[in-house]
């Protein structure tokens, strides 16, 4: 401290760090990284298609838990949600259908579909599979939207296993 004050008094200048080589290095590194960096973040949606399987499809343990499979059909003029169940007690649920109007220009109301899926999830919390059946004219963008609202609603996981299938009719 005494030395510092002595230096100040005598007017000696403090030595300065030579930043120019570091700056040169930065000037080389930053353009290189800027040219190779991507500002669009690509993410992925996991899905599958139905495959032919030999042998029993459902184990006994799975049959005990109350599970349903949601079927979301996107048609030219409507979106239809129905359910399938393998347990006899839940057969009545497969008869219930929910329909929402849709047009090729406007698409469908994502919030309403998500709301209905959330209700189904509340009734059958063990269920996690949805079969998505779009019509031929449905765009890929709308399919992704349907997958989004099936996967999660407000950070609550709904039906994350989406199986994409063509219509049989």
């Amino acid at each position: 401290m005494a030395r510092f004050s002595k230096n100040r008094r005598s007017g000696e200048e403090e030595p300065e760090l030579n930043m120019i080589p570091v700056m040169n290095l930065f000037m080389v590194l930053i353009p290189f990284l800027l040219s190779s960096v991507s500002f669009l973040h690509i993410k992925a949606i996991n899905t599958s298609i139905p495959v032919h399987a030999d042998g029993p499809s459902i184990s006994v343990q799975e049959k005990v838990s109350r599970k349903i499979t949601v079927v979301l059909e996107i048609k030219a003029d409507q979106v239809r949600i129905s359910t399938l169940s393998d347990t006899p007690n839940d057969l009545q649920v497969s008869e219930k259908e929910w329909v929402l109007p849709r047009s090729n220009k406007m698409g469908f109301k994502v919030a309403q579909v998500a709301d209905h899926l959330r209700k189904l999830k509340q009734s059958y919390p063990d269920s996690d599979t949805m079969i998505l059946i779009p019509d031929d004219e449905v765009t890929y963008w709308e399919i992704v939207q349907a997958m989004d609202c099936a996967r999660a609603d407000n950070s609550i996981s709904l039906f994350p296993n989406v199986v994409l299938s063509g219509s049989l009719g």
């Binding site: 800027l34 779009p134 890929y140």
Partner: protein
């Protein structure tokens, strides 16, 4: 002003010093940001001008896999052009000839070369599918069916990250 006076005032001028500290701070922040964003994905994907991916709220990262890209004008597999797309229809890929298409042959070839590796690692084979958002299901269904026939029933749909619709 006389010449003598001008010389006297020139002597008084002090050479200005560059203030590099704040610039260094800024560069350090930019460098850290770029380094972090440089290393968050397994590989870089070049999106062409004729490929507009849909936006999605998913946060799953894509994995290294065979890449099928369906742009507005062509179908590509790992960067190699397989077929042109005309009027929302992939040329040479119809529901009747899926198993004789070039896409099927390429996938079969790829599958036979990677199958032992996947079995050793116990990994399910999957396809990273990047598709333009304007394509109809009719168009993409042929690609999906061909992949399934070639032994790739699992897909990862490549999408652009979008923040949640429910803030």
């Amino acid at each position: 002003m006389s010449l003598c006076q001008r010389r006297r005032s020139a002597k008084k001028l002090v050479e200005p010093k560059l203030m590099l500290t704040s610039m260094m701070d800024m560069f350090t922040i930019i460098l850290i940001f770029l380094l972090v964003s440089f290393s968050d994905s397994p590989e870089k994907i070049n999106l062409g001008k004729d490929l507009e991916l849909p936006k999605s709220t998913t946060d799953a990262a894509y994995q290294r896999a065979v890449k099928i890209i369906l742009t507005k004008n062509e179908l590509k597999i790992d960067g190699e052009i397989l077929a042109p797309v005309r009027n929302q229809q992939i040329v040479g890929l119809t529901p009747e000839n899926l198993e004789s298409s070039s896409l099927y042959k390429q996938l079969k070839e790829y599958r036979s070369s990677t199958q032992p590796k996947e079995e050793r690692k116990n990994k399910a084979p999957h396809v990273l599918f990047l598709c333009d958002k304007s394509h109809s299901f009719k168009t993409i269904n042929n690609v999906i069916k061909t992949c399934g026939l070639a032994g790739y029933p699992n897909f990862q749909f490549g999408v652009l990250e979008e923040k949640s619709r429910y803030p």
